[in-house]
């Protein structure tokens, strides 16, 4: 599969949002278009989270996880979702009796990478660690590592 993303970077705040994503996947013969498409929806959503907001925060002093809840461990919500187009290219390889190929993991593999590339394209400097949070974007805009 391959995914294309468009990102919007606010250069004053460093906030990155994702207005549009195009996901093209070859999952062989699609038996249930609704669930197959739904898998890609979820993969892209969590791929965006992976890229922009998810991180486990550990306190070095106590060894405790500080964000072990959905308040501070940030997963995208409805207002973070892009306009998402999903296309399945059904290539029937004849390699098995049903013609099906998996879609589980591929749905989420390219997303974060595409977002990181898009941020680099927008900002002109790469942010080389995930999540690409506003503080990192601001440092990149200021020309720091």
């Amino acid at each position: 599969g391959v995914q294309f993303v468009e990102v919007l970077v606010d250069t004053w705040t460093g906030v990155v949002t994702v207005p549009e994503v195009l996901a093209i996947h070859d999952a062989g013969r699609v038996h249930n278009p609704l669930t197959c498409r739904s898998q890609v929806n979820g993969g892209v959503a969590l791929g965006i989270s992976y890229a922009l907001t998810e991180t486990r925060v550990m306190d070095r002093g106590s060894g405790r996880m500080l964000n072990a809840n959905l308040e501070s461990y940030k997963i995208v919500g409805a207002r973070d979702m892009p306009k998402l187009d999903v296309i399945f290219t059904e290539v029937h390889t004849g390699a098995n009796s049903t013609g099906a190929i998996g879609i589980g993991e591929p749905a989420t593999i390219p997303t974060a990478a595409a977002i990181a590339c898009a941020v680099y394209d927008a900002v002109g400097r790469p942010v080389r660690s995930l999540p690409i949070t506003p503080d990192k974007v601001l440092r990149a805009l200021e020309g720091q590592a």
């Binding site: 460093g14 925060v57 306190d59 002093g61 405790r64 919500g77 973070d80 506003p134 601001l138």
Partner: protein
């Protein structure tokens, strides 16, 4: 969560008599949004929740009203954020409506009250962690100082470095609001900024209410029709996230020059922060993009970042 009783008094006297002197064993309850979080984490262990929604008569009405009075608008402390956001507050007070409409989620806004929003406790992950004894909970030191402090204060911090979580407080400070408080000596009115206390004064609490006092209402002072106010916020995540930083500004322009400027900064300090030097630099000037670009750094003058939050500047 410990078991508790819900008491539903009809009069304010009954409510206050119940809570005063009971220390933390009996607490007031309004929307119970922050209260529920505190109960679940074991940060509050009351035996009784004393409901304010059941107050009747004139007392109850005063806490639920949202209407103009003589020389000001009165917003009762029990008004929800949703009600405030959808209210008929006129244009000069737009910042408060925008702030109320942007906080949290629609579900929370339908339940959370003005009073509760102002008096909510900080979101600092050290404070909220049941196992960690930070300064604010009576421990020895602020764990965020030298620890994970990406979301903590750059202004006014020390010895505790929380940021005050109230979005409405930022708008109220910019609008020059006053807070009506009911206590032992009857009603008293203070400026919104005086409701909050810096950690260097009292690290264990965030507000200046005495035990058993209740916020009755907030007053927005009469503003010239030409006053305009606005609220802006930056969040990492656009659905249900706390602000990284937020600002509310109220400006009146007359004769081509800024006559009055009030600017409140949120989520950068342990109290809603007035950007006083920035305000002073704006008054008397003709508004322009150049002016704003030139004086904007005054907003964070004197900021002292911790290890991880210099980006807020």
């Amino acid at each position: 969560m410990e078991p508790f009783s819900l008491i539903r008094p009809r009069t304010l006297k009954a409510a206050r008599d119940r809570v005063t002197g009971a220390a933390d064993k009996r607490v007031f309850k309004a929307g119970a949004v922050d209260l529920l979080d505190l109960l679940k984490e074991g940060l509050a262990r009351p035996d009784e929740l004393v409901d304010l929604h059941s107050l009747q008569g004139a007392e109850g009405e005063a806490m639920r009203a949202l209407a103009p009075a003589e020389g000001y608008w009165s917003i009762g402390a029990l008004n929800t954020l949703a009600t405030i956001a959808a209210s008929g507050l006129p244009e000069p007070y737009a910042a408060l409506k925008e702030a109320a409409g942007s906080a949290a989620t629609p579900g929370i806004r339908n339940r959370a009250t003005l009073g509760g929003n102002l008096l909510q406790r900080p979101r600092c992950w050290y404070f909220r962690h049941g196992d960690l004894g930070c300064l604010k909970k009576g421990g020895e030191s602020c764990l965020a100082d030298g620890g994970e402090n990406k979301y903590h204060a750059i202004l006014g911090g020390g010895p505790c470095f929380i940021v005050h979580p109230s979005t409405l407080a930022v708008a109220l400070v910019a609008l020059g609001a006053e807070v009506e408080i009911l206590g032992d000596a009857g009603a008293r009115t203070i400026g919104a900024e005086e409701l909050f206390a810096l950690p260097r004064t009292s690290p264990l609490t965030e507000h200046t209410l005495a035990a058993g006092e209740v916020i009755r209402a907030v007053r927005l002072p009469a503003a010239p029709a030409s006053q305009r106010s606005v609220y802006e916020v930056a969040k990492e995540k656009q659905s249900f996230d706390w602000p990284l930083a937020e600002v509310a500004a109220a400006i009146t322009v007359e004769g081509g020059a800024i006559r009055v400027a009030r600017i409140g900064l949120g989520h950068v300090a342990p109290v809603p922060w007035r950007a006083v030097q920035l305000e002073q630099a704006l008054v008397g000037q003709a508004p322009s993009a150049d002016l704003f670009a030139r004086v904007a750094p005054l907003a964070t003058q004197g900021a002292r970042p911790l290890g991880q939050n210099a980006y807020k500047i």
